[in-house]
Symmetry: C2
Subunit: 261 residues, 2 copies
């Protein structure tokens, strides 16, 4: 299998990860053979205007396919549904937090975890997405590498323990960061200003850590341990007790890290 250049791939699921992954594979040198969703109408939307087959039942999957990618919610991965798939096919899932062992009933199984934030609102460039692979054996790793490297130059071998740590780290780097943006927008708007004014700062803050380590480029009142400004900020937030608590907890953490350096 690993010597063939073009793989036949089946995607299971129709959510954000399935959608973005299906588009990327359809545009690669590999063949997106089928998209399977228990909601057939969603699978049809996903394969719209292509030769890819939309199917609803596991019994219709092409047995000659090389790889089945389960782009499903975590709780579905842990159900009997998975056991319906043919045992000889390479079966992998895209979850950051489910162990590879969830697929242990299959002799050839692995992980195909794209580390990115996907949403319907925005196209993504797969060439910018790290793909984290894990495999039950060397041949599976070769096949998954062949597929992943055709989508992105950023391919990593990551074991299940590391992947869970990465998924957790991503919550900080992405979801909690986005919450910081959200709060800043709220504070801005409550003072009668448009969020537009903060966007360049957000770009530059992300740009800075592309070349440097975040702790080298920290700035601001907590980083200088400027108690005057910190207290004034906490006073300014007296109408937002939640924000006050967040401000205190994060400021304390920055001060503590500086003391440890």
């Amino acid at each position: 299998m690993s010597t063939r250049k073009n793989l036949k791939v089946i995607i299971v699921g129709s959510g954000n990860v399935a959608t973005h992954l299906a588009r990327a594979i359809a545009q690669s040198k590999h063949e997106l053979r089928q998209v399977l969703s228990r909601d057939l109408s969603r699978a049809k939307v996903l394969v719209n205007n292509t030769n890819v087959q939309a199917i609803q039942s596991v019994s219709h999957i092409d047995p000659t396919a090389d790889v089945v990618i389960l782009a499903l919610k975590d709780d579905v991965l842990n159900t009997e549904y998975i056991n319906q798939f043919p045992k000889k096919i390479i079966l992998c899932h895209t979850s950051g937090s489910v162990s590879m062992d969830a697929l242990a009933a299959f002799p050839n199984h692995g992980i195909f975890y794209p580390l990115q934030t996907f949403s319907k609102l925005k196209e993504v460039d797969f060439a910018e997405i790290p793909i984290c692979l894990e495999a039950s054996n060397t041949e599976v790793m070769q096949t998954l590498s062949l597929l992943a490297s055709s989508l992105s130059p950023l391919v990593y071998e990551v074991n299940s323990k590391q992947r869970k740590a990465l998924h957790l780290a991503a919550v900080f780097a992405c979801n909690f960061t986005n919450l910081m943006y959200d709060i800043s927008e709220d504070l801005c708007q409550k003072a009668g200003m448009d969020f537009e004014i903060l966007r360049p700062l957000i770009r530059e803050t992300a740009a800075k850590v592309q070349e440097h380590s975040p702790n080298e480029v920290q700035t601001g009142p907590a980083s200088r341990n400027d108690k005057n400004i910190i207290n004034r900020h906490i006073n300014l937030l007296n109408q937002h007790v939640d924000y006050q608590e967040i401000y205190r907890v994060l400021t304390d953490e920055i001060i503590k890290r500086n003391e440890e350096l």
Copy 2:
């Protein structure tokens, strides 16, 4: 003054803001006349290889200058030092958190606040920096606008109350965001992986909010209120009580915001 095209500008200070601002003005159509620092050696480093004069004492400032920009620490702005400047010149400061009133002894005064994170480690493109202006009268505003618009297309009139809100919002959008990056790097490295793997996610998270509102593009376990993953993450952090608290506080905030939508 407002009809002249080329302004003579004096910068007071030699820190990050003074340095980046001096470079930008020296490259603009306006004239950087002098850089004043109580530490003359730092002023000399700053004007190195240019015609700009480095001075140490307020008594040496060119009385024909149009604008003096005080790029000083907040606590210096509130001292007697400021009162030594000639009363007729336009005096403005660059602080996000000090009121314009701090300069009320001068008939022509204002604010020239560049909303960006400056550090010695990285060059910045002033065309990407919002400049927030406030002025004691219309003529001062015209002069500051002339100067600001030659450095950046992003010029805003922002009053002192709004500027303080903006400075606070910037702590969330920049300093606290950078702390999230810092924690994600730490978690990544403790699991034996390089921070490089998270950088594309950081870029995309910032890119998403350039076109959208952060609350429209939030993803992750808190956003889905996925208690299984949230609990697993909190368990994973049992060696890091600080991170555990931060995880809880920020997760609760995301869940609460979703409930309010």
